[in-house]
């Protein structure tokens, strides 16, 4: 492609236009794959998925052809394709990945249950036609360790069960049994929504009920939902709703549980919320680790349209591509627009300028899940129930899983009353109250109520209520390393405190003796100066380890 010149600088081919040329065959391939799909830029990630799914990788000629077809620049395509874990960009001279990929979850719950050994053993035992790679939390912590063969999750994975799946070619997602449309309607579903459509309810009434219920954002921030909806008042139309189904916080799997068991309760909530804030369209951004949930939603949204029940509200299902950061609401908006998932600086807030620059309400799956029941039963009903929500409990308990409990439940109650106690032979030592971000607390803080704000004094928070239980068998340093490594891997790289901070933090905690003074200084800046919650919270596990386990870190 280039030749050397006298001054040693290479020179491009003079007999083509500058840069990469579009290959006609590749262009035909891309046109065939895209079919009649619009070539809009916000569909870039969807289009990349089409190519990745079909060819199992993204070759440079295909990417160049896609750029041409979408009237985008090469760099714009490349930077998006290389941002997301689930895309394999293969340049000239590089070998394409094998047809089959096995992702072994190395999230904290799976690591505790031997993920690393599993990766190593699978690496030894599988052939060249299979690739075994570690993957961040796949949201099945209650079945740890987990491997994903193609798109099929193998729970309590062993070398045997994983190899068997790989060899059998059974690599499509397993669709769980869930409440389908008819059953949902039979149980009274969509009655409320039909009432709204029939003019028997007022928009303000619905919003008022949500405010009254005390419902708070269950994606992790805990912001009062009614207040958030209120921000859309008096904003220009058209407005949009975006549903955050990019559940990536390690230890969290409640949204998966909702979609995989009762998808219509979510969809009715989506319609109610869209209607209440007068949004024309709702976008559901679903993490790519949940292919079975995607199948369910595609099917059930189609059914809703078939039943003519969408009330004119457009429902879009968009697919993430393996990036924790896209669970950050503004990064999710960027990803919905087909870009890299970089969190936005605020202000402006999404309610002012959100998706495609339009006023946007962003809610988590579970938040929206509760809307139907609140509208039907009243705001006070939800409050009187103690603001129940789902806790994802994993780790060293007998019966891990999604547990419905009121806000303010303690971890001891969760262990004893919901999870059948600790695993045999394990003594409760510590826990994560809120996934990787919420800090680490010792067992002696096991009676503290778990609610928004209740852990502030310990420098911790419950976030998405992902509770991971550790025992005397678990090493706090290893846990810290797992969590910081996760943040380092998932930092979008946009701002210095997070990009450089996570990388330096990992180096600092890899040292035999921690320079706690420097760690504190670094943490302060990460917390004070990072653009988004990822960088702000990334030092939490280390800070709480120093605070509560300072004596046994070595």
């Amino acid at each position: 492609m280039s030749v050397a010149t006298k001054n040693g600088r290479s020179r491009r081919s003079l007999y083509h236009s500058k840069g990469r040329q579009v290959d006609d065959q590749a262009l035909n391939d891309i046109r065939a794959l895209l079919g009649d799909n619009p070539r809009r830029r916000d569909l870039l990630i969807e289009h990349l998925h089409l190519v990745q799914d079909h060819y199992k990788h993204l070759s440079a000629p295909h990417l160049a052809a896609l750029a041409k077809e979408m009237k985008m620049s090469l760099a714009e395509i490349y930077e998006v394709a290389t941002f997301y874990h689930h895309f394999d960009v293969v340049k000239e001279g590089d070998s394409a990945p094998p047809q089959l990929t096995i992702r072994v979850c190395d999230g904290i719950a799976c690591e505790m249950k031997g993920a690393h050994d599993l990766i190593a053993e699978l690496g030894r035992s599988t052939g060249a036609d299979v690739r075994v790679i570690p993957a961040p939390c796949v949201g099945a912590c209650d079945h740890a360790p987990v491997a994903v063969v193609g798109q099929r999750q193998i729970h309590h994975a062993t070398v045997g069960s994983v190899s068997e799946a790989a060899n059998s070619g059974n690599i499509l997602p397993e669709i769980p049994t869930y409440t389908e449309f008819d059953a949902y309607v039979a149980g009274g579903g969509y009655t409320t929504w039909k009432d709204c459509l029939a003019g028997q309810r007022e928009r303000q009434e619905v919003t008022a009920l949500v405010s009254e219920s005390g419902l708070r954002g269950l994606g992790g921030a805990g912001f009062p939902t009614g207040t958030k909806w209120g921000f859309l008042d008096n904003t220009p139309k058209p407005r949009l709703l975006a549903i955050n189904a990019d559940e990536g916080e390690p230890g969290t799997f409640k949204d998966r549980h909702i979609i995989d068991s009762d998808p219509h309760r979510l969809l009715e909530g989506v319609l109610l919320a869209s209607w209440a804030i007068e949004a024309d369209a709702a976008y559901i951004y679903l993490r790519d680790e949940y292919p079975q949930s995607r199948e369910i939603l595609l099917l059930e949204i189609a059914r809703l349209k078939h039943e003519d029940l969408t009330g004119g509200i457009e429902l879009h299902l968009r697919r993430g591509a393996g990036a924790y950061i896209c669970g950050e609401e503004s990064a999710m908006l960027e990803s919905l627009e087909g870009k890299r998932g970089l969190p936005r600086n605020r202000p402006p807030f999404p309610a002012q300028r959100g998706l495609f620059g339009r006023p946007t309400l962003i809610n988590n799956v579970e938040t929206i899940y509760w809307i139907r029941d609140i509208v039907e039963n009243g705001g006070n009903w939800y409050k009187d129930q103690g603001r129940p929500h789902f806790y994802s409990v994993s780790g060293r308990v007998k019966n891990p899983g999604v547990k419905l409990a009121p806000a303010g439940v303690s971890v001891r109650q969760l262990i004893e009353e919901h999870c059948g106690g600790m695993e045999d032979g394990h003594t409760f030592k510590a826990y994560l109250p809120g996934g990787a971000s919420g800090g680490v607390l010792p067992a002696d803080k096991g009676d503290v109520p778990l609610d928004f704000g209740s852990l502030d004094e310990f420098g911790c928070f419950i976030g998405s209520s992902a509770v991971v239980i550790f025992s005397d068998e678990d090493n706090i340093r290893d846990i810290c390393r797992n969590l910081v490594h996760f943040f380092e891997d998932e930092s979008c790289g946009q701002c210095t405190p997070c990009r450089v901070g996570c990388e330096k933090m990992l180096k600092l905690i890899d040292a035999p003796n921690w320079d706690t003074e420097l760690i504190r200084e670094l943490s302060d800046t990460m917390r004070d100066a990072s653009i988004c919650g990822l960088g702000q919270a990334a030092p939490n596990p280390v800070l709480s380890a120093i605070r509560f386990f300072g004596d046994n870190l070595s």
Partner: protein, 924 residues
Amino acid sequence: MSTPITFTLDGQEVEATPGETIWEISKRLGNTIPHLCHRDKPGYRADANCRACMVDIEGERVLAPSCRREPTAGMNVSTDSERATKARNMVLEMLLADQPERQVAHDPDSLLWKWMDKAGLNKSRFPAHANTPETDSSHQAMSVNLDACIHCNLCVRACREVQVNDVIGMAHRGAHSEIVFDFGDPMGDSTCVACGECVQACPTGALMPAAVLDEHQVHAGKADRQVDSLCPYCGVGCQMTFHVKDEKIQYVEGRDGPANENRLCVKGRFGFDYINHPHRLTKPLVRKDDAPKDSTEKLDPANPYTHFREATWEEALDRAASGLKTIRDRDGSQALAGFGSAKGSNEEAYMVQKLVRQGFGTNNVDHCTRLCHASSVAALMEGVNSGAVSAPFTAAKESDCIIVIGARPNQNHPVAASFLKNAAKRGATLIVMDPRGQGLTRHATHMLQFKPGSDVALLNAMIHTIIEEGLVDEQFVQGYTEGFDDLKRGVKDFTPEKMADVCGIDADTVRAVAREYATAERSIIFWGMGISQHVHGTDNARCLIALSMITGQIGRPGTGLHPLRGQNNVQGASDAGLIPMFYPDYKPVTEDGIRDTYERQWGRDLDHERGLTVVEIMDAVHADQIKGIYVMGENPAMSDPDAGHARQALAKLEHLVVQDIFLTETAMLADVVLPASAFAEKTGTFTNTNRQVQLARQVVPTPGEARQDWWIIQELANRIGQTWIYTHPKDVFAEMRLTMRSLNGITWERLEREDVVTYPCDSDDQPGHDVIFTDGFPTENGRAKLVPTTLIPPAELPDDDYPIVLTTGRVLEHWHTGAMTRRASTLNAIEPEPVAHLNPYQMKEMGIGAGDTIHVESRRGQVELKARVDRDVPDGMVFIPFCYHEAAANLLTNPQLDPVGKIPEFKFCAVRVKPVAATVNAAE
């Protein structure tokens, strides 16, 4: 909404205008907060990613980036709280951990090191990143050292949002984030067009001009001084700062001129070293007695001594002048002609036309505007009695709909193109009409690749649509135009349906773009030589004028007509009267009253008739009417159509005086060659395409015995009987102001102070008018004249013998005939040899591979050159740039003239194309 708000900044009550950020307010008050990713320059959005500018806002959980954050009323902000200061310093310390040591820093004076110094940081407590990227020196002009990269994203914004070249991206993520070109390709192999905006924006030295770095990639040896001047190349008129070391230009940077807002292109930024080329003429030369002129002989510009000998200035000037004088006195004034240059200053242009009119006594004076926009100017003079643009190209900022027709600004006006792309990104409708695809295509909402030469069919179909569909601005037409009924009758038969086959664009598309243009709130039209360089060039321009008039898309912000002027001073040279039919300010030479004024001022009778134009002068030489020519800075041997014919004319002359900086193809045929000053060696005023009169300042001295052009012209004038006593270009400028109303309000002193003033300008203390025709037109009745047009086919259509259409033009890296840019080391390294562009399917059909030598032949000449694959070229066409002396495209072109503008048809002639191997085989 725009009422100021009050807030507290570091304990002080401060007032802020809405939209102002805390960083800007703080800077305004004398406290510049540290910043790395924020570039406080036009076109750069604050991105707030480096976090070096964090401040403390009372009541907020975390710190806020001051570069982005706007205060609200009552807010309490401290820039100097312990928390904010610590965070800012910690950010710097984090970045420092991964930087090369100061001693080997690529740019030890970078913004990054400046802030490290201010923070007192020279060492980081953090362990370094394991990854150290290697130097990428694949590009001729720039070096990439990503070990100094802080991922601030400025280069991405520079490339994507400011210049919109879209080459640089940020790939991967987290600590693996990496600046990439295209797909992570070496910069030199990428689609990079080397505008260098990234180099200018980079705050660390990770991206730098290759020329300033030593073998260790360190910038040692800072420049001694800076001089603010202009770019020597196109009509955009970029302001730039030259950095000079040891009296040589080290590098240049863009300045915040109204036309460029700090932007430059590859030519301006990296094309300055031609002035130091060994071919540079440094001594006067006279032709040897035993060296006859041969129009087909190629001299070696490095060694003129085969045909010339050195002379003293006295001898050379005497010989030059006496040759001209002898012809004048023997054969009369009409036996002489003079060519000035659109590359010279306004003062030089004025002096050349004065020399020819006063000294030679003829109006046979012209310059290359004849070859560029003569037809546009003719149509504009006829229609609105003003040849200049109605609005600057930066009006695109306010436009809702932009038409670009017959212009390829990405190559020819790259900085202007960047403003058009900015507008498209903002959401303006961009309609591109060009037989070839081009750089703007990807940004266009509509791309109309019409059949070459069918402009009138396409444009009349648009006019037809607008009239037929009732989209005419009746009020404007009634108030400000005449001839509408004739126009209406004229376009009656030009239905889009009928024209679809003629122009190759379907009727629906034509109607759609006509509606967009007519109904948008603000529409503007840009055009270039694809419109003007045709035998129907004047008609093409008439159509564009009609389009804007019947829709009232002129005279308001964001609207207008803008012929993109090619040379840096083609506007000014024309204004200064360097054209055969006009005195300065387009005053007709045939009008007695006007001539009287000049006769009084210049103290002699002046020629009553219009003079001959460029191509006509060459014909007159062949006809034995013209015997002596004086050429200042032009190269007709390369730039004229049917260049073989032009070269024969030059060789035939009894006396040819050429004043230039190199031994051009024209100078090779001269009797006397006078070594002149390059752009960076002179002071003068230049008028860009936007009517902005700007001051260029001398940057470096002339080499050897080369002299200032104004001095040479004056010496010649005085040797043929004049008594000129100019001591400086400003004396000439002062004289020009006596008769040129266009220079009203523009004094030399004002230009020295302000660098630029737009004309027309009401007074010394008023800014000029960017947008003109705001209330009618400068015609006798204040109305614009609408002129209907008919279909005139190109003069030479393809046939069985010559089946391919040849079109000519420029490439990004080379300027005009290549005299300067082929000698600019970086530019010539990027585009070092002649190439002909063909599309790959056509090449396949003809059995031509990429890089094969092909033979291109017209009825007038032939050239051999390599073939380049270019998907923008339609079937049945070959494009050849005219900058290559080795394969001069103009040996092939057709000298047929537009009857009104007298411009040749450079954009269309018939040729045949064959692979050379095949030719050889056939011969055997």
